[in-house]
C-alpha cells in the first residue's frame, strides 16, 4: 500500500500541454512563446504616424475542451484556444489594436479594464460580436495584425459585429495590472466558461518591461540596484464548475489543478520575484494568495509605486488584482508552497510550489529568460 496524499493523480496529457502549458503561460505575454513566424499571425509591433508604438493582436474566440486536471475535461469558451486567454502587455501610452474574430458558438466580446472610449467597451448588446464559423482563414489577408484597418473601420460596426468581427482600439492606460473578459450575457457563464485574461500596463518607456517598475527590496522597502534580476510571473486565479451546479469543482492558478505542485516554478534565490496576480474566480466572492516561509509587498491594481502592505496572505474579490513582490533567501534552497488560504480551494487544486535554488545559471535562470522578451 502506498502512502496516500492530497492531489490529483497522473499528469496532464502531452497533447494538452502542447496546446496550453501552465508553466509556459507564467512568462508568456504578447505571444512571445510562439516562434517568430507563427507569432506574427497573432502579434505585431509598429510605429504610428504620430511616432507612438502600436501593438496589434489577433484574438479568436473558440470553443475547446480543455484539460483542467489530469483526465478531467471542461467544455471551455476560449480566446485563442487557451484559458486564461493570452496575456496582453504594453507600456502606458502605447496604442493597442485588437482584431477580434468570434468563431465560438455564442455572441462574445472583449471588455477591457482600463481607459477607453464607449465604442470600445464591449459590453452593450449591440456591441456583442456574433458567431461566424471559420472566418479567420478567408479573411486573414485583410483582417488581423499588419492589415489596414481603414476599410473595416469605415463599415457600420453593428453589421461588422453581426458578421463575427470587431476591432478594439485604445491607448494602454493607466499604468497597472488589469484584465479583460467577455461581457456578453449571461455574464456569469461567459466568464466562468473561460473568456478572460491578464492585461499588464507597464510604466511608460522603452527597454525591458520588467525593468521599468521601480525595484524595491520587499523586506526592507529600500530601492534595489536597477540591474537587479527580476523574475516576472503571471497568475490568474480561476475555477471551473464542471457539473454546472454553480459551485467550482476545480480551483487553480492558471487553470490546471495542482500543476505547479507537480511542476514547481523554479526561481533563483535573491531574485526579485514579481507575481502579476488577477482574480477571475467565478461563483465564490473571494479568493486569496498565501506564500509559505516569506512575506511579499502588495501593489494593489499595480497602480501604486510604493507599498505599505507587507504580508504573507492577500485576499481579493473577483476582478481585483495586485502585483506581489518577494525574494527567497540565499542559503535556504527548497520547495516553498503557495496556495489559496481557503483550505477548500487549496485542496481542490489551487496549490503550487516555488523551487528556490542558489545556483546561478541553472534551469531557473534559463526559464527566466522568457521574461526579457517583449
Amino acid at each position: 500500500m502506498t502512502h496516500g496524499r492530497l492531489g490529483t493523480v497522473d499528469d496532464i496529457s502531452p497533447a494538452e500541454l502542447r496546446m496550453f502549458d501552465p508553466t509556459r503561460f507564467l512568462t508568456a505575454w504578447n505571444f512571445n512563446h510562439l516562434p517568430q513566424g507563427e507569432r506574427e499571425r497573432f502579434y505585431r509591433e509598429s510605429v504610428t504616424s504620430e511616432g507612438r508604438r502600436l501593438r496589434e493582436y489577433l484574438f479568436i474566440a473558440r470553443d475547446r475542451e480543455i484539460e483542467i486536471a489530469p483526465g478531467l475535461y471542461f467544455p471551455a469558451w476560449t480566446y485563442n484556444g487557451q484559458v486564461p486567454g493570452p496575456t496582453i502587455r504594453a507600456a502606458a501610452g502605447d496604442r493597442i489594436r485588437i482584431w477580434f474574430i468570434n468563431e465560438g458558438g455564442h455572441p462574445h466580446t472583449i471588455h477591457f479594464h482600463g481607459w477607453h472610449p464607449f465604442p470600445m467597451d464591449g459590453s452593450m448588446p449591440d456591441q456583442f460580436v456574433h458567431p461566424a464559423a471559420n472566418l479567420a482563414d478567408s479573411i486573414e489577408a485583410s483582417f488581423g495584425p499588419g492589415a489596414n484597418p481603414e476599410p473595416w473601420l469605415r463599415q457600420d460596426p453593428i453589421s461588422l459585429r453581426r458578421r463575427g468581427l470587431d476591432i478594439y482600439e485604445f491607448d494602454a492606460e493607466p499604468t497597472g495590472l488589469h484584465l479583460y473578459h467577455c461581457h456578453s450575457t449571461p455574464l456569469k457563464r461567459h466568464v466562468h466558461k473561460g473568456l478572460y485574461g491578464a492585461f499588464i500596463v507597464d510604466p511608460p518607456g522603452r527597454g525591458d518591461p520588467g525593468d521599468r517598475r521601480p525595484k524595491i527590496d520587499p523586506d526592507t522597502n529600500q530601492p534595489l540596484p536597477p540591474d537587479h534580476p527580476v523574475r516576472e510571473l503571471v497568475m490568474v486565479m480561476n475555477g471551473f464548475d464542471t457539473n454546472f451546479d454553480a459551485e467550482n469543482e476545480v480551483y487553480a492558478a492558471n487553470t490546471v489543478a495542482f500543476h505547479y505542485l507537480r511542476h514547481p516554478i523554479r526561481v533563483r534565490a535573491g531574485d526579485l520575484v514579481r507575481v502579476y496576480l488577477v482574480n477571475l474566480t467565478e461563483f465564490d466572492p473571494i479568493n486569496s494568495f498565501h506564500l509559505h516561509a516569506g512575506f511579499f509587498r502588495t501593489y494593489r491594481t499595480g497602480t501604486a509605486v510604493r507599498s505599505d502592505e507587507y504580508s504573507d496572505t492577500l485576499m481579493t474579490c473577483q476582478a481585483e488584482r495586485a502585483i506581489l513582490e518577494f525574494r527567497f533567501r540565499r542559503g535556504w534552497p527548497g520547495k516553498y508552497m503557495f496556495h489559496a488560504h481557503q483550505s477548500e480551494f487549496a485542496e481542490l487544486g489551487w496549490m503550487g510550489l516555488f523551487e528556490s535554488s542558489d545556483e546561478a545559471g541553472d534551469r531557473a535562470a534559463r526559464i527566466g529568460d522568457g521574461g526579457t522578451r517583449a
Partner: protein, 441 residues
C-alpha cells in the same frame, strides 16, 4: 372461383409447408438483420449528433472501510454510455487513489515504462467503465473513526457522483470471529425470541375455541404489519437502487413470485396429505393447509421476513449507520417474541411432537443469521430489495392462508363481527407497531 377459395378452414399461406424450426427461427434471423443494421448505420448517433454529451450515470453500490487508512468503493456504471473516472475527491479535496475496472490496475508500475502519450491512453482505457461494467476504487485516506465522510467521483466530462459514509467504522471482515459474532447476533434477535414465543403453545392449547380464534386474529394482524412494513422498506430501498435495476419491477417480481410459489407449495403439501385438509384430521372439501402444515407455512413466511431483517441489521452495521446497543437487541427480541405466538396459533387443537417446535423455531429464526452474514459481508441493494419483496409477498400469502382456513369454518361476517376477534387483529398489528418503535435502524 378458384379451388383455393373454396377450401374450408383457415387461410392457407405460402409458408404452410415450411418446417416448424424455420417458423421458430425466422423472426430471430430477421431480428439479427435489424440489429446488424442498427450497428452498421447508427441511426441513433445520427439523431444525437456528434457533439452530443454522453449520458453518464455511476452508482457507488458499496463502500467498504477494510482497514484504517483505506477506503474501497464498488462502482457500477448504470448508464447507457461508458464512463471514465478522471479523479476522486474526499470531503472536497482531490485525493490519490487507484482503480480497477477489469482492464488492470491504474497503479500498475508497468505503466511507467510506457511513452507519455501511450501511458495517457492506457490510463484512460483502464479508468473507463463500460455500460453495466463494474470497478473498484481504492483511496489511501486516513478516515477518522466515528466521523462522516463524503467521497465524490468526477468523470472525464466533469459529472460528479457522491457517496456518503455516515459514520466511519472499520467494516466487518468475513473471518471466523466475525462470522461467529453475527451468528450470535442472529440467534439473539431471531432464533431465541421466536423459540421463546413457541413456549406459548401449552397456553394456546388450554384456551377455548373463541379465544383460539382471537389468537389467530392476533396472528393475522401481526402478519399484516410485517407485510406492510416489508413492502415499505422494499420501496425505500428501491429508491436507492440505480434506475437500470428497475426497483419497482423487482418488488413486483418478489411480491408476486413469493405468493405464487407459496400457493404451489401449499398445493403440494395438501396433495401429499392425500387431498385431506391437513394434520388435524378435520379433513374437508376446502383444500387449505391447517394445523402443523399451516404452522410450517407461517414459520417459513416469518423466516423470509427475518432474513431481510438480518440483512438490514448486518448492512446497517457494515455501513456504520448503527451502534448495536443492548436497547436495540432487546427491542428486536421483544418484537420477534410475538412471531412465536403466531406460529403456534394454528396448533391449538393439535398434539405436536417436540421436534417440530425445534424445526419451526429454526425455520423462522435461523434466516436472521444468514441475513446478518449477507448484509455484513456481501451487501447488495439489489438483493436487499428482492428479499424484502419476497418477505412481504410470503407473509401476505401466509396471512391470507390463515384467514381462509378460519373462514372455512365460519363465514367472513362471523369472523369479523365479534369484538374479541377485531381486537385481536388490531392487537397483533399494534403490538408489532409498538415494539417496532424500538428497532428503528
Amino acid at each position: 372461383m378458384t379451388a383455393r377459395e373454396n377450401q374450408p378452414g383457415p387461410d392457407r399461406h405460402a409458408w404452410a409447408g415450411a418446417p416448424t424450426w424455420l417458423l421458430a427461427a425466422a423472426p430471430i434471423v430477421l431480428l439479427g438483420l435489424v440489429v446488424w443494421g442498427i450497428v452498421a448505420l447508427r441511426p441513433v448517433e445520427r439523431l444525437r449528433g456528434e457533439g452530443f454529451p454522453p449520458i453518464e450515470e455511476l452508482s457507488i453500490v458499496r463502500t467498504v472501510l477494510p482497514q484504517p487508512g483505506l477506503i474501497e468503493l464498488h462502482v457500477l456504471n448504470a448508464g447507457p454510455d461508458p464512463v471514465t473516472i478522471a479523479q476522486v475527491m474526499v470531503d472536497e479535496a482531490y485525493w490519490s487513489h487507484w482503480m480497477d475496472a477489469g482492464r488492470g490496475s491504474t497503479n500498475d508500475p508497468a505503466l511507467d515504462d510506457l511513452q507519455p502519450e501511450k501511458r495517457a491512453g492506457e490510463v484512460q482505457r483502464r479508468r473507463t467503465i463500460p455500460h453495466l461494467g463494474r470497478a473498484r476504487v481504492w483511496l489511501d485516506y486516513a478516515w477518522v473513526d466515528g466521523e462522516a465522510l463524503e467521497v465524490v467521483l468526477i468523470s472525464r466530462n466533469g459529472a460528479t457522483f457522491a457517496t456518503q459514509i455516515e459514520v466511519a467504522v472499520q467494516s466487518p471482515t468475513p473471518d471466523a470471529g466475525q462470522f461467529g459474532l453475527f451468528a450470535l447476533l442472529g440467534i439473539l434477535v431471531g432464533v431465541m425470541p421466536v423459540s421463546l414465543g413457541l413456549l406459548w403453545h401449552p397456553l394456546v392449547q388450554r384456551l377455548g375455541a373463541k379465544l383460539v380464534t382471537v389468537v389467530l386474529c392476533f396472528t393475522i394482524g401481526l402478519l399484516a404489519f410485517l407485510a406492510v412494513d416489508a413492502l415499505a422498506e422494499a420501496l425505500e430501498a428501491a429508491r436507492e437502487l440505480p434506475h437500470v435495476y428497475k426497483g419497482l419491477a423487482l418488488i413486483a417480481l418478489g411480491l408476486v413470485g413469493a405468493i405464487l410459489a407459496l400457493f404451489c407449495a401449499e398445493r403440494w403439501f395438501v396433495g401429499a396429505a392425500g387431498g385431506s385438509g391437513g394434520g388435524d384430521g378435520r379433513g374437508g372439501g376446502e383444500a387449505t393447509p391447517t394445523g402443523l402444515r399451516l404452522a410450517y407455512l407461517i414459520a417459513g413466511g416469518i423466516g423470509l421476513h427475518n432474513l431481510s431483517e438480518g440483512l438490514a441489521i448486518g448492512s446497517a452495521f457494515n455501513l456504520g449507520a448503527v451502534s448495536l446497543g443492548a436497547t436495540l437487541i432487546i427491542g428486536f427480541t421483544v418484537h420477534n417474541l410475538t412471531e412465536g405466538l403466531a406460529i403456534v396459533s394454528p396448533l391449538a387443537r393439535v398434539r405436536t411432537e417436540l421436534v417440530h417446535f425445534l424445526w419451526l423455531g429454526l425455520l423462522a429464526g435461523a434466516p436472521t443469521v444468514l441475513g446478518g452474514w449477507l448484509g455484513a459481508f456481501a451487501y447488495s441493494r439489489v438483493w436487499a430489495v428482492l428479499f424484502l419483496a419476497l418477505g412481504a409477498g410470503a407473509i401476505a400469502q401466509v396471512a391470507w392462508t390463515v384467514l381462509r382456513q378460519m373462514t372455512a369454518d365460519a363465514g367472513w361476517r362471523d369472523l369479523l363481527s365479534p369484538v374479541g376477534n377485531v381486537s385481536g387483529l388490531a392487537g397483533g398489528y399494534l403490538a408489532m407497531y409498538a415494539t417496532g418503535l424500538f428497532v428503528a435502524l
